[in-house]
Subunit: 408 residues, 2 copies
Amino acid sequence: MAQNLFGQIDPPQRLLMGPGPVNAHPRVLRAMAADMLGQFDPEMTAYMNETMALYRRVFMTENQWTFLIDGTARAGIEAALVSLVEPGAKLLIIRAGRFGLLLSEIAQRIGAEICTLDLPWGEVATLEQIESALIEHKPQVMACIHGDTSTTMAQPLEGVGALCRKYGVLSYADATATLGGMAVATDAWGIDVVSGGLQKCMGGPPGSAPITISDHAAKYIMSRRHVEAGIRASDTLDGSRPRISSNYFDLAMVMDYWSEKRLNHHTEATTMLYGAREAARIMLEEGLEARFDRHKAASNAVVAGVRALGLNVFGSDAYRMTNVTGIWIPEGINGENVRTRMREDFGIEIGTAFGPLAGKVWRIGAMGYNAVKHKVLLTLGALEACLAAEGYKVSRGAGVDAALAEYS
Amino acid sequence: MAQNLFGQIDPPQRLLMGPGPVNAHPRVLRAMAADMLGQFDPEMTAYMNETMALYRRVFMTENQWTFLIDGTARAGIEAALVSLVEPGAKLLIIRAGRFGLLLSEIAQRIGAEICTLDLPWGEVATLEQIESALIEHKPQVMACIHGDTSTTMAQPLEGVGALCRKYGVLSYADATATLGGMAVATDAWGIDVVSGGLQKCMGGPPGSAPITISDHAAKYIMSRRHVEAGIRASDTLDGSRPRISSNYFDLAMVMDYWSEKRLNHHTEATTMLYGAREAARIMLEEGLEARFDRHKAASNAVVAGVRALGLNVFGSDAYRMTNVTGIWIPEGINGENVRTRMREDFGIEIGTAFGPLAGKVWRIGAMGYNAVKHKVLLTLGALEACLAAEGYKVSRGAGVDAALAEYS
């Protein structure tokens, strides 16, 4: 065969300082090199149970139903919404960025009746605003984004779960961009369902979505349970409520698969499970507080550095995520030229932006394995050089020095 | 923290001779150990394009739209059906096993009007039966399973695509269990959409679903296109037909992401892409015909071996898949006891069965990296010993000898 088989996988070594994916921890990648097990092998199901136990601690929860969805972070979001929201049910969505819009997008396809609490990109909702919206709209479900990387803002969630329970509303939060980097205090917040991803602060590759579900939400989801014809037993009891409108994302069936029943659904993505399990072990070895502090220190250094370069940081200091920083592109500078120089000359990737911020804002992430001093310093040094090459007047060395000072 | 972090990933070395997942080729696992790239890095998009080119050859097609769905094989099935079948559209499903039932299950949730061509588990449909069903039901879409591992039968698909086109029907086939092991002749068959998985004959881990889409089907799917609000440009043109009822599985958006437009959708699962790309390279290096012959030889040896042990093979020799063999569990023998002995004493996994065949049939797979002589011989030798230990009268050595003879 003369046809091209291309070369081996051999990516250039990049330092990924954008909003994710970021470089994976080498231990995660090594764990993923282990060979397969049968899906019902006792060794495999033990790994599944251990992964559940580890992610309970990652999500700061006692929820029994804490496991993985086999797909990228977006798969976790859709699994949560399609299982929590019946066609025609009223869903309140807090929207202040691209991922808030994504929740609407998914919910429209489910056939939900959508009501929204809309804020300008970059703002966050107050508890009062949320309570007013709950009172006004009387939704069955509330959905929001914890950290929306499109705006780099973190929605405070303390008290939000309690508010939702007060009004009998099931709650969902997407923590894709914060899990592993900021506290995702599922139980303290009282949020019913929280989902995440591996490829940001967890320090793993994209392709697995950890999720946790309160007993209260699990009971509701089980009321929509409908076991597949090909594997149902004669005594199978289905739930009384409308069937979940996706098979792959049917959390009732996924829970049956992750339960001691081990009712076959998909074939668990073994390699991604190995990686997710190792990413959680690394996080818990470090300790949650130490890890959150490490992210905060890196983020503070990024902010100090870019400000010392005369750049303006996007959004309010009070609500910024501590793992990704938005930076206004200075007037007269072509943002994409700077990004290209960063990649081509320094092997460093920083992020662009979406929607109303496209072309106006860069995003620098310091996430997971990359939320460390030397990577922040190297990024600031490179950014300074690229800005200078594009004709931006910059005080050379100022960014690196300010970040060093912030660290010490 | 005194809490248990469990040990490193360190699975026992199993020989997986069931219906999948099977052992992954070590080259695939090594490729997956490479670090991340940014999702729009030119090196990453080049890998994506190369993966498309490689899977065109795997699917024996010229289809431009040949790429990966980020999820297990079941995710590929749901992406195909939810994108091809509008709520209320008429879908003809050929059902002769568990995975035919799964197609119904998914289609019910989409809200399709389902009509079926039902056959007893283990039979296949003739072209005449399919044509009659097309004439009788006048569906918009026809869906079927190429190799249904629940019955070990392969539905012949030659002529099926042409028949569907004759009646103006879009066609879908699931080739999860055959891709990489038997010819999946997408263009020769004229099937519009075919999806597969990695964890069977492709010799990779579960978690990625290759899919191929004809231009004809892509045009239809694009007529249902609806770009997300968070990333839509002012000149975005949506399609005129009803929106696809899943965001994650919206093939129109996934095509935009894999196209030169690179319109952001999910974040491609980098590690699984590396693995899928390497699995295809290994297959194409071997050559399609050589690979199919290797599977057939292994399957023939399994059949010869188990028959020499006095066991009966499930289903018709004319239609059996060449990578998994169903074997009737002999009377008086507890099938699960034999499987446990196989695993615990020999480290070998063979499969159980579902639905009407549960407890009656074992399934021995010889797939991908495991479709080789020595693994077949080791499995037959172990099976004989386990049968003998369970009190089955067996002529010792007969299975191995028969398989060796079949190979020579």
